[in-house]
Amino acid sequence: ILRYIENQYFFNILPLAVSKNYFQNREFSFTLKDGIYVRYQSFATQNELEKEMQKMVPYKIDIGAVYSHRPSQHNTVKSGTFQALEKELVFDIDMTDYDDVRRCCSYTDCWKCWTLMTIAIRILDRALLKDFGFHHLLWVYSGRRGLHCWVCDDAARKLSVVARSAVAEYLSLVKGGEETVRKVVLSDPIHPFINHSLSVVEHYFQQYAIVDQDILGSKESVDKVLALLPEDILSFPDEKDPMKQWDQLCDLVERKKVKYFDKEIMLQYCYPRLDINVRKGVNHLLKSPFSVHPKTGRISVPIDLKELNMFDPFEVPTISLICEELERPRADEAEEDDMKDQENEQEAGERRRIRDYKRTSLAKYAKVFDPFLEAMARSRKGEMLKKSDLQKDF
């Protein structure tokens, strides 16, 4: 069964890895049965990777950086010269980072907090595309309660550690750990980025925070909100309806001219919290898209931003579902036999694999993935044409 999965995975994900230049110097890591973690895997060709996958049957595959030498040979290289050259810019967003502002669930999944992920995508996607000018972004569901964002532009891959950290800082508004009560502080002038983010948060806040999360629903949670307000506001306006309570609070804030406290509260409850990992720099490995989450069995599928509001993590296919779908008899076996005569064994095998994953629920996610790959391939062609043009000029 796992073998099928490897094949599907291989076929889906490999184009991504290959189009990320210098395949031979790309580091992969395998997590094997019993949790054994193997780093510095590298392969000369796609076939090699496939063979190794079939041999070792990894439960999880992570993708790392492109190095100066083949990672599998890093021990033979003079120390200091083996270096990471390029790595996609990645962001890791996890629901656990929002634990201090959620009340709906802790270790289980629920639908009430997924809005936070939607908000995160809307804010960060816009900023990465419009502010930073990146083009090739892939948002991937992590399999359980989080997201990964892969920024695959050339410019992103070449960013230094300092630059990555600067990008992450620019995108961070919620700061401070357990000891910090007030984690968002706004002051004049409000930067356009913050304004954009606020408009997204404001769009979702009422439904998400007041209704779903019910942040004004119990004394405990009300106290938490009050803790974020200036000391002279000791209690919430007397009102049964929490929506009205919130509105009245906003009015109060405006009347007292205490600036941005209501906006700070909204941001503290909703603004995306980026995992610190992005600051770890170029050596860090991130789980590959289309891998299987060990606890839920769900596949890390790309998210279609056009249908973002309808994305439901509970509807993402699990590995068992895919296996089931693959077990079903093929409808077009006759066609297949005809084709067999015309092609050699390897090509036939590949075609079978293509048809295979298209028969499963993964097909719709492949439809998100393919355009992303095509766009990257197009831009790479464009770059190479530009380069060869420049070289022709004397």
Binding site: S165, E169, P189
Partner: protein, 259 residues
């Protein structure tokens, strides 16, 4: 007659090539021979200049109106080396050579290096700020800092965003000030603290901030260069420095006493 005429022409054009801008990053060391007298004079005068810059920085708030005015006065006074009836070419040549001589003198210890870099930066900041808008852009382009100024129309359409993203800007200043489009990777400090407007991967830097970026570049280059000279110091320059020590020992300065 013909022969000397031709020679004059050649010298003229190479002069233009060598010093095509009044300001430079001092990337290339001077390649000519100079007399010992020139060597002495250039070094002493630049040192005087840097000491003046230092003193001004103590008496006035740096970059304040007073500071700039005073510096302008002092630099245009006839005793200062920058003027003195020489041609533009001579001035630039002197600037170039004297800077490099002082590098030799000031590369030795951390304190010396720090002092030298600080004064050179302050001087550079003043001189860069004094350039016209066109000359500033020229300088940037000649030094591979390919930053374009933002057009008036674009500034107008982005006016509100520019005002809210940078400190101390109003509608008027946005119209009057130059803004530069800098790839965000070259303006990380401003990006990190969100003190600049970002669009399509470019940071829109107001004039007074571009100086910071250029200065950072200046400091980095000078720092590296001093480290390199320091490394080769004992191999090649001891004789020269011994000479400088003798020639300059008359000039009272704490820095030179260390030599």
């Amino acid at each position: 007659m013909q022969f000397s005429g031709r020679r004059k022409k050649l010298i003229g054009s190479s002069q233009n090539d060598l010093y095509d801008h009044c300001l430079q990053f001092y990337g290339q060391p001077p390649l000519e021979n100079i007399s010992l007298t020139e060597f002495e004079t250039f070094a002493v005068e630049r040192l005087k200049l840097l000491k003046t810059v230092e003193n001004l920085g103590v008496s006035y708030v740096k970059n304040s109106e007073h500071y700039v005015k005073k510096l302008e006065e002092l630099l245009s006074s006839p005793t200062m080396y920058v003027q003195g009836g020489t041609s533009e070419y001579e001035k630039r040549r002197k600037d170039h050579i004297s800077h490099f001589i002082l590098r030799l003198a000031y590369c030795q210890t951390e304190d010396l290096r720090r002092w030298f870099i600080q004064q050179e930066m302050d001087l550079f900041r003043y001189r860069f700020g004094d350039l016209t808008s066109k000359h500033k852009t020229d300088f940037l382009h000649k030094n591979n800092l390919k930053y374009e100024t933002v057009s008036a129309e674009e500034k107008k359409s982005l006016k509100d965003k520019l005002i809210t993203s940078s400190y101390g800007l109003s509608g008027i200043t946005v119209e009057e000030y130059d803004f530069y489009k800098v790839p965000f990777q070259d303006a990380l400090d401003l990006v990190r603290t969100r003190k600049v407007y970002l669009l399509a991967g470019n940071a829109y830097i107001p004039h007074h901030e571009i100086v910071t970026i250029v200065l950072n570049d200046f400091r980095t280059r000078l720092s590296k260069a001093l480290a390199v000279i320091r490394f080769f110091y004992f191999l090649f320059f001891e004789e020269i420095i011994l000479f400088s020590k003798n020639a300059l020992s008359g000039y009272k300065s704490k820095s030179f006493i260390m030599l």
